[in-house]
Symmetry: D2
Subunit: 136 residues, 4 copies
């Protein structure tokens, strides 16, 4: 079983480049929409992270563009939790809403940063792990 | 006499919209380039502001678009200090670098926010006013 | 009577600056959300504009910031058609969703650009004016 | 031997997030600075691409964040041509300007899109390959 969250979004004019498609760098924003929804669902959003004494800076990002998104197209980003014990790895899938066709895939990895010691931890904080395991 | 600073910039692909011109919202970024250069020249950049106990949130912005900027065009933004005693008002002029033609005009107003009391001050801090007057 | 449209939006992490509030330039994006909804309601969105042989580049923008928007805050932008015969003037009002408090005001002016002759027209195209007047 | 180009840039306020570091999605813009400089050096920039009948949409992007970039930090992005015969693969290295320390690594892959047939070509156009080989 997996933990996932989906967010619908529409392509806005300011995200489209001179080729008439979403500029490839803007997909990182869509990934963030999905990631926020997923972490909210787990109950470990930005505020809970902070309260737990950790931040989770993004350590790496990958994006694979299959088909372009156009102005006014409605799409859905699905974020799936892929790893949670040592780091947070999330897989992303963007679909055209109407056809259900997969248009983009992505991945992000976040490391736990202990905000007191300002050191990277190779274990995610217990409170987060427990919340995840309660959902699995 | 006036205090002013100019910054040259080139239009990047990610700032251009599907009409082939800079998306109008991106000019606020160019204004920030000019404003940073002007405040640096005065010796009252972000760090000096912070050290003086003040922040200067932007209270209003105006932009008037005369001619579009295109991908790869080189332009110059000139920021001119228009008011400094009660608030910081800056006028902006964007020129095509080659022809010198004026393509955009702008204006920003910033109010002094006392970071201790978190109240807006209707007088700019002395240290800033003195730095400005030393240049006039 | 007036023609207006409202869009709800939530402040995303990527729109927030190092002061913890929405970077002032990002409000131009929120204005675009409101404008698109308003023009859609009139039945004169981007595609209808194009089909009518006109583009409507933004000629000027004004923004007045009253209170900052914070990460995760939910807000509503209301776009109100203020002029439509010689140019499109839209007034914008951003409210905190929960309290209904006004946090930002804005204004944009767009001129009709005839795409065949590439000249600015000082009259909006008939098809647009009729659509507006049918709603008034 | 390799073909490479470097561009210096400074971190602007609008690129910094509420953690006080460059928001991770903004590095895709820095990659574009490097890529444009590299393709210009080869003599195959956006205009030459277009004239040759091809576009080169980005098919994938990878970013690995080693250390954060802060407001006002000056950095250098180096773009290195890694593949050019079947597709354009570019490796990116971002260094702190002062210390020379590597802070971010990236990679982009672009496929040749024939603009007449709108089909992906698995060979880069001859004119591009010749320009590259003349520099090697």
């Amino acid at each position: 079983m997996s933990i996932e969250a989906s967010v619908e979004f529409r392509v806005e004019f300011y995200d489209v480049d001179s080729m008439g498609v979403v500029w490839h760098g803007n997909y990182v924003k869509y990934m963030e929409l999905g990631r926020c929804a997923l972490l909210d669902k787990i109950g470990y959003g930005y505020n809970e992270m902070k309260a737990s004494g950790y931040a989770f800076p993004v350590a790496s990002v990958k994006l694979k563009y299959i088909k372009p998104l156009m102005f006014r197209q409605t799409a859905v980003i699905k974020a799936v939790l892929a790893e949670y014990e040592n780091r947070i790895k999330i897989d992303y899938f963007i679909y055209d809403k109407e056809s259900g066709e997969l248009v983009t895939k992505g991945e992000s990895i976040q490391m736990a940063l202990n905000m007191k010691t300002m050191t990277t931890s190779f274990l995610c904080p217990d409170c987060f792990v427990k919340k995840v395991e309660a959902l699995l």
